[in-house]
Amino acid sequence: MELIKPGLGLLFWMTVTFSIVLWLLSKYAWKPILKSIREREDSINNALNAADDARKQMDALKSDNEKLLAEARKERDRLLKEASEMKDSIIAQAKKSADDEARRLIANANDAIEKAKLNAMNELKSQVAVLSVDMAEKILRKKMDDRNQQEAFVNENLKSITLN
């Protein structure tokens, strides 16, 4: 049958044409196209990988930041604690030294009072002695005219002295 009998001319032209097309397209179309497609795919893959890496780095950075922040927070807490301790100790020390000072002042004051009191007592004693002697002198001058009276007086004084 005519339909399934390949014609020589068509066979010839088809072989020639297809060979030329195959050669032309391979050289000038498929090679650059496939190369570009592969390059683009590579570049897309690289970009995706880079984005992934960047994300990982960001995550690492973030966790680093958090670590730093936590450390800073800890440091701050420690500093605050130290400061408050220092404050307490300073206050306590101040209180203690104030107490000591006050005690010392009071003691000093007490000492001074004691001393003043002693001095006053001594002064009083000597004053009283002087006054007594003066008084005794006056009395003596007045009473020593009478003998009896003298004796009586001396005896009385003696008695009192003994009692003392």
Partner: protein
Amino acid sequence: MRSNKKKIISILIPSFLLFFYVAFAGVKMANASTPDHAESNHDTTSHHDVSNLAEQNTHVEQTEEKIDAGKLIMEHIADAYDWHIATIGHTHLSIPLPVILKDVKGFHIFLSSKFEHGHATIHGYKLEHGKIVALNSDGSINEHAEFMDFSITKNVASMFIAVAFLLWIMFSVAGHYKRNNNKAPKGLHNAIETLIIFIRDEVAKPSIGHKYEKFMPFLLTLFFFIFINNLFGLVPFFPGGANVTGNIAVTLVLAMFTFIITTINGNKSYWGHIFAPPGVPKALWILLIPIEIIGMFNKPIVLMIRLFANITAGHIILLGFFSLIFIFGAANQYLGLGVSVLSVAFTTFMSFLELLVAFLQAYVFTLLSSLYFGSAIEEHHHNDSH
């Protein structure tokens, strides 16, 4: 720029169809004489077939000319020495194509119009029922004349146009890649890239394996060559309409390329499977080796016949539906009109189906070729595979 181009195309195509319609209708009305046969120029989508029906049918009834649908269809799907575009009245509007004959006297190159449709003899050759035959000196046909026919026939010319189109598309796409390296593709560039990646990832990689790159240029050329020619075959008027991929010579050459590449690339294991089937008792080799050898040739033959039969069948179905109009129209003008509605509906449906087939057959041919390449370069470990 792009949208302008689209606009121009969207205006051009309908106006082209309208021109055809007007030309047809005008000539038919003015010329009451007999059209020698109702070559309907196989337009599946335009309207003039249907619209001119009544007039054509009138002529048919007047002259009582029989429409031979079988002859019409066979004439269409066979090759021809001129490119018939339309028949208007008595005038055949066709493009003459160069005839190239080689015999003992050398090459004879002339235009097919010199045959005057079989009426004239040139260099001792004559066109007889669409075939070139050599004549004896007394004018009788010489059956034993030895000459070779390298004519640029309708199929060759259509193939040239399709190939020029294919090269133009692919070079422009390749140029696009060179200019916009590593940028996102768009438009035609994107459509072609999708197909290229489809062939690479869905056809070549799974069936050939990691050595697929070596076969990519052939597979891509094969796919786009078949696809473009299939699509051109579906265009009902010039520059389409020829039955290139439905011609056995074309599919034979394509299958030969696949066969040769498979054979060249066959490795030790491939030939081993044919001439020393592993894991089989030697006594059975006498049976198996011929089967394997037949199988080796069977593969490309199946490729050849599948593409040829599918495309030819598609063309026959489309033409058959159109012939129905004229067969029924010859019986009754109004019956013909009624059938034409159904025919056009069916043909439209079939045309869509043929678009699918155009892609599918290109895909199947490429897929099977790549499977054969895969089997030729596959590294078998005999202990595992049997």
